[in-house]
C-alpha cells in the first residue's frame, strides 16, 4: 500500500463518507473511507440504520408468531430465514417435518436461492456498469416470484413454512410451472454468462479485486459463496445435511484465488446446481401429510439449541434458549451478512474507490439482516 510519501502527486489524506444514501451500498450502509487520492487506506462500516430489535421481539412473541418477523431480516431470501428457524424449533421439540413437507421446503428454498443470486447478479453487474444483465436477471426472478405468489400469496416476505411442516399444500399446476422454469433456466444462465464471463471490462473490474485468502476468510468467519470463492469446499447442505438435502445430488462449486471474479463464478454455478436440485425434487415429492402432529401451543423443553443452514449468503444460524414457556428466553440470530461484511475492511485496503462498490456487491449483503 503506497503511503503519502510514495505517491507521485502530493495528496492529502481525506475521509469520505460513502452512504447511507449511496445507491450501490444495497441499503443503508455507511462506509467511512480514508483516502489518499483515489486509493483507499482504510474503511470503517457504520451499520445499524435499519435496526428493529428482531432479537428482542423474539423474546416477546410466541415461537409461531416470531416466524413472519424473521422474513423481514434477509428479505431477499425470506424462505431460508423461515426454514432455518422452523428447523431449529423442531430440533428443540424433537420432531421432524414429514417427508413431503421436507421436499417442498427444499424446492422452495432452492428457488429462493436462485432468486436471491439473480438479484445479486443484476445489482452487482449494475454497480460495475453492465446494465443489461440486470434486466435479464429480473426477467427470470419474476418467474420465481410468480411461483411463490401462487403458492402462498406473497412474493417477498413469504412466511412459507410453519414449525412442524408447511402451511399450504402445493397448488394445481405447481409441478408444471416449476418444471418449465428449471428446464429453461440453465439456458438463461448461459445468457448471463455470454454477457459477463468473457467480457473484458468485467474481467478487468473483477479479476484480482478484493482477494481474500482461505485462511483469512475462515479467521474472519466468512461463509457462503464468499468462502467457497476462496477455495474452501464447505457447504452446510453437505457438511451437516438438513431438511431432505441428503437425498439430492449436487456439486459444490469452489473458486481458486478468492477474488471477485471467483465469487461471481461460484454463484453462477450455484444457480445451475440449485436448478438441478429443484429438478430432482419436483420428480419425487413423496405423498403424505405436510404437517407433523404438534400441539397448538408450542412449548419446547428447557434448554438451548444451535442450528444453522446454508442461506444464499452464508451460514444462517439460530441460537434459541428456551425456559419452557411459549416464548423464547433468548432468540439469537447469527446472520451471514453481518459477519461477512467484517471482511470488507481487509478486502478494500489499497484498492481504488470504484472497487469498493464492486466489493460491497460481491459480498452480497442485505442490510435488513445485518441490522436486524
Amino acid at each position: 500500500m503506497p503511503t503519502k510519501d510514495e505517491t507521485l502527486f502530493d495528496t492529502s489524506e481525506i475521509t469520505v463518507s460513502m452512504g447511507p444514501q449511496h445507491p450501490s451500498t444495497h441499503g443503508v450502509l455507511q462506509v467511512k473511507l480514508k483516502l489518499d487520492g483515489e486509493r483507499v487506506l482504510d474503511a470503517e462500516c457504520v451499520i445499524g440504520y435499519l435496526h428493529r430489535g428482531v432479537e428482542k421481539l423474539g423474546e416477546a412473541q410466541t415461537y409461531g408468531q416470531f416466524v413472519p418477523t424473521l422474513d423481514r431480516m434477509d428479505y431477499i431470501a425470506a424462505v431460508s430465514n423461515c426454514l432455518g428457524y422452523c428447523e431449529t424449533i423442531e430440533k428443540l421439540l424433537g420432531i421432524t417435518a414429514p417427508p413431503r413437507a421436507q421436499y417442498i421446503r427444499v424446492i422452495m428454498t432452492e428457488l429462493n436461492r436462485i432468486s436471491s443470486h439473480l438479484l445479486w447478479l443484476g445489482t452487482h453487474a449494475l454497480d460495475i456498469g453492465a446494465m443489461t444483465v440486470f434486466l435479464y436477471a429480473f426477467r427470470e426472478r419474476e418467474e420465481v416470484l410468480k411461483i411463490f405468489e401462487n403458492y402462498c400469496g406473497a412474493r417477498l416476505t413469504t412466511h412459507m413454512f410453519r414449525i412442524g411442516g408447511t402451511q399450504y399444500e402445493i397448488y394445481e399446476g405447481f409441478e408444471d410451472q416449476v418444471r418449465k422454469f428449471v428446464r429453461e433456466f440453465p439456458k438463461h444462465v448461459d445468457e448471463y454468462e455470454t454477457l459477463l464471463t468473457q467480457n473484458r471490462i468485467w474481467i478487468g473490474r473483477t479479476r484480482g479485486v478484493g482477494v481474500i485468502s482461505a485462511k483469512d476468510a475462515i479467521d474472519l468467519g466468512v461463509t457462503g459463496p464468499s468462502l467457497r470463492g476462496s477455495g474452501v469446499d464447505w457447504d452446510l447442505r453437505k457438511a451437516k445435511p438438513y431438511a431432505a438435502y441428503s437425498d439430492f445430488e449436487f456439486d459444490i462449486p469452489t473458486g481458486g484465488t478468492g477474488d471477485t471474479y471467483d465469487r461471481y463464478m461460484v454463484r453462477i454455478e450455484e444457480m445451475r446446481q440449485s436448478a438441478r436440485i429443484v429438478a430432482q425434487g419436483i420428480e419425487k415429492i413423496p405423498d403424505g401429510p405436510i404437517m407433523a402432529k404438534l400441539s397448538k401451543i408450542i412449548k419446547p423443553p428447557i434448554g438451548d439449541i444451535y442450528h444453522s443452514i446454508e442461506a444464499p449468503k452464508g451460514e444462517l444460524g439460530y441460537y434459541i434458549v428456551s425456559d419452557g414457556s411459549t416464548m423464547a428466553y433468548r432468540a439469537r440470530v447469527r446472520p451471514p451478512s453481518f459477519v461477512n461484511l467484517q471482511a470488507l475492511k481487509k478486502m478494500v485496503a489499497g484498492l481504488m474507490v470504484a472497487d469498493v462498490v464492486a466489493i460491497i456487491g460481491t459480498l452480497d449483503i442485505v442490510l435488513g439482516e445485518i441490522d436486524r
Binding site: H51, G94, T96, P99, A244, R330, R332
Partner: protein, 241 residues
C-alpha cells in the same frame, strides 16, 4: 433423530452420501430420545421423578480430557444436550482456553461461528456463549462462561478476528465489558443511546426518549424511558417460573 446424533459425532466426516429418507413412522415419534452417550461416558444417574423432556447427558472425549488436564481449575463441566456438546468453564483464562481450542490437534476449532450472551437477572449473571466449529472434524462445540454484571471478560479478538463485531454487538445489547478489545463501542445502536436493550430488565416498550427528542426532534409517544422503568418491577421470566 438420526440427524441429531450425527451432529454430535466428533469423528464424523462430511456426509456426502445420501442418507435414508425419513419415514413417516419415524417422523411421528414426537418424544425426543436423547442420543446414547459416547463410549467411555458415565451412565446418567437414574432420574428420581422421571423428568420431562430431554436432559443433559454427561459428555467426555479426548478434547474434554485435554482441557481438564491443561486448565483443571477452570473447567466446570461438560455435557451434551440434544446431541450438542457443551463445555462450561470459568471466565478467568477464557482467551487462553480459546487459543488452545483453536490450535488443538484433537479437533482444531478454527472457525468462531457465533459469540453471544444470555442475561439471567435472578442469578445476576450473564452467560457468554461461544459457538465453535472445526472444519477438519466437521464438529461443533459450545463453550459457556458466566460473568457478573459489569465484570470484565477477556476479549477473544486476538484468537479469531470474527469476534470483533460479535463482541461489539454483545457490548451494545448487554453492556458486557470486554477487556483488550481493540474498538469496543456500540455497533447497531447510536453511540449516545442509554441502556442495553437485550437485558431482561429493559422492557420491550422502552426506548431512549431523550435521544429521540434530541436527535429526531419528536416526542416518541412512549410512556416509559430507561430511568423510570428501572424503578418499576421488571418483568422477569426465568426457567424456574
Amino acid at each position: 433423530m438420526a440427524e441429531e446424533q450425527k451432529d454430535n459425532d466428533q469423528t464424523e466426516k462430511p456426509a456426502a452420501q445420501p442418507a435414508e429418507p425419513v419415514k413417516p413412522a419415524e417422523a411421528k415419534a414426537a418424544v425426543p430420545k436423547p442420543p446414547p452417550p459416547p463410549p467411555g461416558a458415565k451412565p446418567a444417574p437414574p432420574a428420581a421423578a422421571k423428568p420431562k423432556g430431554p436432559q443433559q447427558e454427561p459428555w467426555s472425549s479426548p478434547l474434554v480430557d485435554a482441557i481438564k488436564e491443561r486448565f483443571g481449575g477452570e473447567f466446570i463441566k461438560s455435557y451434551s444436550f440434544l446431541g450438542q456438546n457443551q463445555i462450561e468453564v470459568k471466565k478467568e483464562r477464557i482467551a487462553e482456553i480459546m487459543t488452545f481450542l483453536r490450535d488443538t490437534p484433537i479437533s482444531p476449532f478454527n472457525y468462531l461461528v457465533d459469540e453471544t450472551a444470555v442475561h439471567w437477572p435472578k442469578e445476576e449473571q450473564f452467560e457468554i456463549v461461544y459457538i465453535l466449529y472445526s472444519f477438519e472434524k466437521n464438529a461443533h462445540v459450545r463453550v459457556k462462561t458466566r460473568i457478573k454484571e459489569w465484570e470484565p471478560i477477556e476479549s477473544v479478538v486476538s484468537v479469531w478476528a470474527t469476534a470483533d463485531w460479535l463482541e461489539r454487538e454483545v457490548y451494545d445489547m448487554f453492556g458486557v465489558q470486554y477487556a483488550n478489545h481493540p474498538n469496543l463501542k456500540r455497533i447497531l445502536l447510536p453511540e449516545d443511546w442509554a441502556g442495553f436493550p437485550l437485558r431482561k430488565d429493559y422492557n420491550i416498550r422502552l426506548q431512549d426518549v431523550e435521544w429521540v427528542r434530541k436527535h429526531l426532534g419528536i416526542d416518541s409517544g412512549q410512556k416509559y424511558y430507561v430511568g423510570e422503568a428501572r424503578d418499576q418491577t421488571p418483568d422477569y421470566r426465568t426457567p424456574q417460573d
